[in-house]
Amino acid sequence: MPQFKFNRDPVEVQEGDKPEQAELRAEAEAREAVMTFVLGLVAEPVSLKYLYDPPRDRLAEVKGRQVLDKFNCAGCHLVRPGVYDLKEDDPRVQKSLKEAYRAVQSSFASDHRFPDHNAWVGPSQTEADLQAGRLVAHGISRIEPDPEDDEGKRKILYLTLTEALHIPRDLRGDDLGADLPAPTTLGLPEGKLSEVLLSRSDALGGTFGNLLVDYLIAQDKSKPEAERFYKDMDAARPAVPPALLREGEKVQSAWLYQFLLNPIKIRPMARLRMPKFNMSPSEAQALVNYFAAVDSMTNPGIDLTFPYETIPQRDERYWQERNQEYVSRLTQPMKEERLKALEPLWKNELERMREMDPAKQKEQLAAWQKQWWDQDVYAVDAYRLVANYNTCLGCHQVGDRKPNNLAAQGPLLSLAAERLRPGWTERWIANPKRFWYLSNNSPMPQNYAQDTPPDRKLFDGVPIQQVRAVRNVLMDFPQIHDMPANRNYRPKAEPAGGR
């Protein structure tokens, strides 16, 4: 490549100079002039209209991705679902969609539907997608042998949806379209993927978690049956690093920030602890913003806010309103039953005041009872749902009460108030399966199914009211747990023996 020359003017050779020297001097002067011009340009501010000004969420996503990459978070955790463009008019896709819809329909009766959430209702397909015959599905894929193939050669790509897929076409016999909620699984022929998919971009992250699941199951196979714990994927999955999908929707920003700087043990079932990465406060903040921003963009219906969130359960008025509504719902026998249950507690307190004038004691008892009806009955009944061996206390420690099942213990419920967001907590309790994508079923069961008659002895309400009552207690757990009626409450252990 010939050397570039900046000097285009004729060179004037001065007396005593050689022509080459004159040329070099002129070239140096020209180069300096260009450099001065370029440096002058740098100092001049670029017009704002030429600068990219991303929306806040998008900026948070970009900055967060840089931190995710720096600390290789995707090595252990599933960070982002894959995107699969299905050929909508392909008969194999149609068959798979119909089969999946039939399979998932059975869960609708027990489900509590949240129509603004993208795990239940998928976004409408764009005009361009419809014209191209494209269905955009978000999910996680895995390839497994086709159980229908006796030879064991054919394989199937199972696509588990992490977000609901809205099908504009008729799947139900009407023209309204339908939604395949998360985590519906579609089966696509692995050998013909180019015929059923227009494009495919697999999920980001989680490889180590998947390998660890396989390892735990394989390791357990060599043990005697009595010592096996990780018998299948459902049992092994809670032991590995969790997926970080919906992390922004799930956790409170302030808690996540602290956790990233100084991780603590959350899930007793986990075989690995989150290491301390010594990330800087600004890096932790970038990650916190990333998770919230991603969920805010992909799930606009839930109105996620960050870095601050509202926890209405911390407001006294919130409890008073719930209490008022609850008391108006209770029947007279229910009220009497509750009063009777609290009599020993009040009696005990009065015993301590035996020096007091009997008339004043009576006054005090009336005051307690009034406070009970005006403020406490809802919170106390809701707490009974949580401190219950049939539900939460089965697997979670509630205050100082150990759970029934120590081997498959869930996170401490006392952490929930500072860790979880109320919206996610309600949806998780209502139907955990909608948020669990990496194995068949979540370790948390659906305790308050829509179609199951609720047990009204502890808390009077339909299943969704019970879900919200549990959510409310968890969101203000330290205060509710510390109420005198709850502090001394000992849940009844069921007697031995079958019926």
């Binding site: 089969e99 399979a103 998932v104 059975s106 027990s110 519906t184 049939n390 120590l406 081997a407 007697p495």
Partner: protein
């Protein structure tokens, strides 16, 4: 005129064939056999370790101290293997089995699975597609029933069943993939359900014996599956060819089952 009658007869027979494409006129009385342990020494019942579970003592009390794994239940007297699924499959993949007129209707009565003492009873259960599976909890404490089969066909659910209540499962469809049933509160609890689109299936009894009645005569494949795998390993997925004789009881004799690791 004759041509018209002939054409109508052909059309009629075609329509009849379409309405019942797998009709068979010949039926065998029954198909029976016995699944026998062929893995050397008969496995002894292995007690379940319930330590670390607060319900453990209650479970042991309810089971009168006999809480054992049911993966291998082998009768020491005749080596019969219990809880093995046996079913008929058409000779050609994708074909349908003819169904005896007496068995056409899917039973209205649900199949019941209970869990009175921290074990599913029965441990293995066959079901017709469309038939209800009723999971009861007759224990005095809660159980969580988590069931799932093929992820795209029988994705299942995980539902808490409080003491004394029950869960009706109506949505299971016929599939080659078994449905696993578990309880997360008592992790040792495990059961298997298979769903069929025909009535020709059985689960072996305490002697390892099975009997399937009113079977279609002809050549079929006999599938034998235990929760540890098919009889004969991976090759067993194709089943074994059998011929069912008309108006006879077809006895396939002893089917020797060897655990895959032996």
């Amino acid at each position: 005129m004759m041509r018209t009658v002939y054409a109508m007869a052909v059309l009629g027979s075609l329509l009849l064939a379409q309405a019942n494409p797998v009709a068979a006129e010949d039926w065998g009385k029954a198909l029976k056999g016995q699944v026998i342990w062929d893995g050397g020494e008969v496995p002894k019942p292995m007690p379940i370790n319930v330590q670390g579970n607060m319900d453990g003592p209650k479970c042991l009390a309810a089971a009168k101290g006999k809480l054992v794994y049911e993966t291998w239940v082998v009768n020491p007297k005749n080596k019969g293997v219990r809880w093995t699924f046996v079913w008929l499959a058409p000779e050609e993949a994708g074909a349908k089995l003819p169904i005896h007129p007496d068995l056409q209707k899917v039973p209205d009565k649900p199949e019941v699975m209970d869990q009175p003492c921290c074990m599913f009873e029965p441990h293995a259960l066959g079901l017709r597609q469309g038939q209800e599976l009723l999971v009861k909890n007759s224990a005095n404490f809660a159980h969580n029933t988590r069931y799932n089969g093929h992820p795209a066909k029988n994705p299942g659910r995980s539902v808490l069943i409080p003491a004394g209540q029950e869960l009706a499962i109506k949505e299971l469809v016929a599939d080659r993939f078994p449905v696993s049933v578990k309880c997360d509160l008592h992790p040792w609890m495990s059961a298997w359900v298979r769903v069929f689109d025909h009535p020709y299936f059985a689960v072996t009894d305490a002697d390892g014996k099975f009997e399937i009645k009113n079977v279609p005569a002809g050549r079929y494949r006999l599938m034998v599956w235990h929760e540890t795998g098919f009889l004969g390993g991976a090759e067993g997925r194709k089943g074994m060819p059998i011929t069912i004789e008309k108006d006879q009881v077809t006895d396939v004799g002893a089917l020797k089952m060897k655990p895959l690791d032996k």
